[in-house]
């Protein structure tokens, strides 16, 4: 897969929800660029629009204003099936709640994105096993999610996000459901993958310590970016809050 110069480029992107006839702006004119190999933390209090931004960056949602280009493609020109394909090829998601399919083995969970790419079962399993090996779960291929610890489940989810070799890995509070030590290990794994495979890592978090490790921090408030310094990170300026799920 060839990667565009910019993995994701958002220009003056806004997203407004219609709730009972009332327009609620969730995102007001956000511009940012995610480059290949980037390590960016998006931080901000609950309701600041960081989840909305993540959904847009991941191609799960479309902006109501502005221009959003993912993997070199302007999402406003894409049909729902094309958006699905874009997500499949360009984006990997890691969620706070893992979102693994129950009753499905680790290896088949990891192989799931390849199903929608039309890859045959044998090749799928081989790639998934390889990926699980890489996240340190080579010995847990046929375990089901309920037979795995929280940290292991999140590792399976990370393997699933990376099995398609995406340009961007979007992680929404990836350590939110884990204890400190396990969370740190998962974070270390994400960083390692970011360094070794060159996947851009976008971390949505309200944990200042987590955010501090990113190369860049994008601080959001009331649907807008209030500071997006390039280069080394600075501590998040606001109080930590309970984030939305």
């Amino acid at each position: 897969m060839t990667r565009a110069a910019q993995a994701v480029e958002a220009t003056d992107v806004s997203r407004t929800y219609e709730l009972d006839g009332v327009s609620v702006p969730a995102l007001r004119g956000v511009s940012l660029v995610i480059e290949p190999g980037d390590y960016v933390a998006i931080v901000g209090p609950s309701g600041s629009g960081k989840s909305t931004l993540m959904h847009l960056l991941g191609g799960l949602d479309r902006p109501t204003g502005g221009r959003l280009v993912i993997g070199g493609r302007d999402v406003s020109t894409l049909s729902p099936p094309e958006m699905a394909r874009l997500r499949n090829e360009t984006i990997g998601f890691v969620f706070q709640a893992f979102h693994l399919l129950p009753r499905t083995s680790a290896v088949d969970n990891v192989a799931l994105p390849l199903v929608y790419r039309g890859v045959g079962a044998r090749e799928r399993r081989a790639k998934a096993a390889e990926m699980l090996e890489r996240v340190g779960l080579g010995h847990r291929l046929h375990h089901r999610p309920n037979q795995l610890s929280g940290g292991e489940q999140q590792r399976v989810a990370i393997a699933r996000a990376l099995v398609t070799d995406p340009a961007v890995l979007l992680a929404d509070e990836p350590t939110g459901n884990l204890d400190t030590a396990t969370g740190a290990a998962v974070l270390a794994l994400l960083e390692d993958l970011n360094t070794t495979s060159g996947v851009a890592l976008v971390l949505v978090t309200h944990d200042r310590d987590v955010a501090a490790r990113a190369h860049r921090q994008i601080v959001m408030r009331d649907g807008a970016i209030v500071s997006a310094p390039a280069g080394p990170s600075i501590p998040a300026p606001r109080r930590p809050t309970e984030d939305e799920s």
Binding site: H55, G58, L60, D61, P80, P81, A84, R85, R87, N88, E89, F93, F95, H99, L101, R103, T104, L112, P113, V115, Y116, R117, G118, A121, R160, T164, S245
Partner: protein, 394 residues
């Protein structure tokens, strides 16, 4: 997503909720089984009636007073033996003409007795209808001419009255009058729950004396060939109408009888199939309902699948296949159950059951169609789910 993959996913989903899948299928199972059984019974009944009418003999004309219509009141018979002679002259061959005067009577032999149908007939009956005598002999023309008190027993009557003993030459009493048994019919078996061997034939002249009447209930004529049967019928009716200007007569062929009976049984089969179809429809609504529940329950799964690249169509197909799988598995099970039940009914009850390929194909096709029709709405709903909202659902 490849289609084989989609089948596997659908099957996995059904397995994950075995009890619910089973109960949902049950609705379809019962519906399909009902279609198969009821159509089998309807078809079996029709087939048996057809066989019975055809089994009477070929090229038969049945002549009765009145019209063969549903609404016409049954008329009092006015046919007599002189009419029979007139009909014989029209036919040109008395051996092709049979008559009957029928009455229900108690027949006794020693201490045993049975209530049965006693028919006063001519000696021509075995030539006109298909009736074979197994033991002894049938009535002769001299039996009829001299009104002898002789009787030919149906197999059931012979068994009831005499058991294993040979009835030939034995005495029986019909309505209190003594008769000598001269023959026993070969068994015909049952049809539609009616025992066709439960009858006694006596000479028509004897019957007239016994009952104190000279009426004839009906005349049957065996036409020489199929082509001339309608013309012959018209001539017989014309002759009888001349003799009884105030009464209508009908001469009906087996084909006409079959047509009327076929219509009645066809309607019956249709009604049965419709009732069964309704239960299948109800089963389909159950499938739809469960699929909607399933979509709601698996909202997060749908969101996740979409996030990793499932197109709306992939999700829709997955849920549609699930519904189709539910109804087709249910359909096949129902077919097996229906065939089993139909065979059991045919075996254990007098109701005949004939399994037809078209009813099986229909039941299976309808169950698959039910899956598609009732699966479409839930599948569309699943396919259109917004992944953002779906992932947020707890």
């Amino acid at each position: 997503m490849r289609i084989a993959e989609a089948w596997r996913v659908a099957l996995d989903a059904l397995r994950a909720n075995r009890l619910r899948s089973g109960l949902t299928m049950l609705g379809v199972v019962i519906g399909v089984a009902a279609v198969v059984v009821l159509v089998a019974i309807g078809t079996g009944a029709k087939r048996e009636v057809e066989q019975q009418v055809e089994g009477l003999g070929s090229n038969l004309l049945i002549v009765v007073p009145g019209r063969l219509e549903f609404n016409s009141a049954p008329s009092v018979s006015r046919l007599s033996l002189s009419d029979v002679d007139a009909v014989s002259r029209v036919v040109g061959d008395p051996s092709r003409v049979a008559v009957t005067v029928t009455s229900g009577e108690t027949v006794r032999a020693g201490t045993r007795s049975t209530f049965t149908t006693v028919q006063g007939v001519l000696e021509t009956t075995p030539q006109v209808f298909v009736r074979n005598v197994a033991r002894g002999s049938y009535l002769t023309s001299s039996d009829v001419d001299t009104a002898r008190r002789v009787a030919v027993l149906g197999a059931t009557v012979a068994r009831t009255l005499f058991g294993d003993r040979d009835p030939i030459g034995q005495q029986v009493s019909v309505a209190g009058v003594r008769f000598r048994v001269i023959g026993v019919f070969a068994p015909l078996g049952q049809s539609l729950g009616v025992d066709r061997d439960d009858e006694v034939h006596i000479p028509v002249t004897t019957a007239h004396r016994l009952y104190g009447t000279n009426r004839i209930d009906g005349i049957a004529v065996k036409a020489p060939d199929r082509e001339r049967i309608d013309a012959l019928g018209e001539r017989i009716v014309a002759e009888l109408s001349k003799r009884h200007p105030d009464t209508e007569f009908s001469a009906v062929t087996q084909e006409q009888i079959l047509g009327v009976l076929g219509d009645i049984l066809g309607v019956l089969t249709g009604v049965l199939a419709a009732i069964a179809g309704i239960s299948l429809l109800v089963g389909g609504v159950g499938v739809s309902n469960i699929m909607l529940v399933s979509v709601r329950e698996r909202t997060r799964e749908i969101g996740l699948r979409k996030a990793v690249g499932a197109r709306p169509r992939d999700i829709g197909v997955q849920f549609l296949l699930e519904a189709v799988l539910l109804t087709t598995i249910g359909g096949v099970t129902g077919m097996a159950l229906g065939v089993g039940a139909a065979l059991l009914v045919g075996e254990l009850s007098p109701v005949p059951a004939a399994i037809t390929w078209w009813s099986l194909a229909l039941a299976f096709g309808v169950s698959a169609a039910v899956g598609i029709i009732f699966g479409v709405v839930p599948a569309q709903r699943a396919g259109r789910l917004d992944p953002v909202i779906a992932l947020r659902t707890e």
